[in-house]
């Protein structure tokens, strides 16, 4: 009686509302079967989980109180955070500047196909790899240090901002473009007076979002040698200095939250 018949009484309706359809049941069953299969493949067991809980209690015990008191470590942390901030600022600045032309070139309503395809390919390539993987390649290319991190995050910024910017341009109203073009404007004039005013607000939204994202990732590229606080964090983990790890994590989270607050203010001012 689970299916709603043509002469459905109140009882049938309730049954139809509360019980799952057969396809949904099979779907959930498949999901459960997958979870059981995957956990057995990856060798997860309840025992490991219990041992892990004990380790977690130990870890948390060793993380508190966080170690802020040693001056040399505090100095190291400060330098790492400042380098992360430099990486975030520079990669955002160059990333935003570079994604403007790339985004325009990738917009299919402004450019012919032979221009958009290479531009879209570049964006796709920039987006496909995690910034950390890109950072590995740049560490090999330009050596350890902030430059590798900056270049990796520029790539990530182009992948994100240029993609969304191109999509925003593709959604603009063409009436204004036609009007400006009818007045005899050249391509740059069309771009400045008809296209950019329509996408300005969204571009600022993307840019400030990427600024937050770059700030987050700039604290991580150090794990593979790309400069910033990440290297300090990884070596603290390696030395089991969990109280120092905790101090660094608190500092990172504080920096990211202040950064988000600032970029929110910026957005409010410009939108």
């Amino acid at each position: 009686m689970a299916n709603v018949s043509s002469a459905s009484g109140p009882r049938d309706l309730r049954a139809a509302g509360l019980s799952m359809s057969w396809t949904a049941r099979i779907g959930w069953l498949l999901l459960v079967a997958y979870v059981l299969y995957a956990t057995s493949i990856l060798d997860f067991s309840f025992d490991r989980f219990v041992v892990g809980l004990e380790n977690a209690a130990d870890l948390i015990g060793r993380m508190f109180p966080p170690l802020f008191s040693r001056a040399d470590l505090r100095d190291l942390m400060y330098r790492g955070l400042m380098e992360s901030l430099q990486i975030a600022v520079l990669s955002s600045a160059f990333g935003i500047i570079l994604s403007l032309p790339v985004g325009v070139l990738a917009a299919r309503n402004l450019m012919p196909g032979w221009v958009t395809w290479p531009a879209r390919g570049l964006i796709m390539l920039c987006r496909s790899f995690h910034p950390i993987i890109v950072a590995i390649l740049f560490v090999k290319g330009v050596g350890f240090g902030a430059l590798a991190g900056i270049l990796a995050l520029i790539v990530a910024s182009i992948g994100f901002i240029a993609k969304l910017f191109a999509e925003a341009i593709e959604e603009i109203s063409l009436k204004q473009v036609e009007a400006v073009r009818a007045s005899g404007a050249n391509f740059m004039n069309v771009l400045i007076f008809a296209v950019l005013p329509q996408v300005n607000a969204r571009f600022i939204g993307f840019a400030t979002y990427q600024l937050d994202s770059n700030l987050r990732n700039s604290t991580m590229v150090g794990i593979v040698g790309g400069g910033g606080i990440g290297g300090t964090l990884l070596s603290a983990f390696g030395r089991f200095d969990y109280d120092y790890v905790c101090a660094i994590l608190i500092a990172i989270i504080a920096m990211i939250m202040v950064g988000e607050l600032i970029s929110q203010r910026l957005r409010a001012l410009f939108l």
């Binding site: 979870v35 493949i41 870890l59 240090g145 001012l269």
Partner: protein, 273 residues
């Protein structure tokens, strides 16, 4: 009609003086920040001059790609690690959704009309999001030891914030009509959730889940760099032995999987929404 003339002669401007000062001030701050960063950042000029040569060397070492490393019978090849990465991403997403649903319910002000609970839920979500997945991975490697278990938990804990935040927002957008009707009949809260909220947020729910899965496929590819299982482990081993041809193999595999996942997710989301 002197008033009209006066008002026409007024100088019109798009922004108030305060807004204008604010904008100039912002430009100034941005310019100052960029200049400060450029002047103080430590870039070694020799490294920079050497960069084109090194990049060329990198590609020469990557080519020819070690295709044979894709499948190794000892289970150390790319294939095995790639499957592990997909399992980490999928199990991590499932675990994240399971944990995020109660937090999302608690964060939605119309579902839980209790301020402190909303605040607590938002705090959990913010904490989950502000710790990077690599940091979660480092923590869970310390807890569970190296391997995919740590990776799965890292992905799950990182995703709670994303899934819970979007789910909470979807719940808050649900229309109150059905819900009030249900409450008026005296329905218990579980029924209100199931019949009132669930049908309204179901498309958003599945859309959020598959979207996060797509992100997690990318993220789980790097967790191995800190020992949390998956294809990142292969990259790490190959890097340590300078086998760039094997790194290239792993990167190509990641590229294909990421693109396939994105196409799949775009297709699924079109069907759902």
């Amino acid at each position: 009609m002197s008033t009209t003339v006066e008002s026409l002669e007024r100088e019109w401007s798009r922004f108030t003086p305060a807004q204008r000062v604010g904008r100039y001030f912002t430009y100034l701050i941005i310019a100052a920040a960029v200049v400060w960063a450029l002047r103080t950042v430590e870039i070694i000029p020799e490294f920079l001059a050497d960069a084109p040569e090194q990049m060329l060397d990198l590609f020469q070492r990557m080519w020819p790609v070690d295709w044979s490393h894709y499948y190794q019978t000892d289970g150390m090849g790319v294939h095995h690690a790639l499957v592990e990465t997909m399992h980490i991403a999928t199990l991590g997403t499932i675990l994240a959704v399971i944990m995020a649903v109660p937090v999302g319910l608690m964060a939605a002000r119309n579902v839980t009309p209790f301020g402190p609970a909303n605040f607590l839920a938002k705090l959990i979500l913010a904490a989950s999001r502000s710790v990077n997945s690599l940091v979660w991975a480092l923590l869970f490697v310390a807890v569970f030891g190296p391997g995919p278990l740590a990776g799965t938990f890292a992905i799950a804990f990182r995703s709670i914030g994303f899934v819970g935040k979007l789910l909470g927002e979807a719940l808050e957008e649900a229309k109150s009509g059905t819900i009030e009707a249900l409450q008026a009949t005296g329905a218990p809260w579980l029924s209100v959730l199931k019949i009132g909220y669930w049908p309204q947020v179901r498309p958003a729910f599945w859309s959020i889940a598959v979207f996060r899965w797509d992100i997690n496929v990318r993220e789980s590819a790097v967790l191995g760099l800190v020992g949390a299982g998956g294809i990142g482990m292969v990259i790490d081993t190959s890097l340590n032995t300078f086998r760039w041809d094997r790194v290239a193999m792993a990167l190509i595999a990641i590229l294909i999987v990421v693109l396939a996942a994105e196409i799949l997710v775009t297709f699924v989301r079109k069907r759902i929404l």
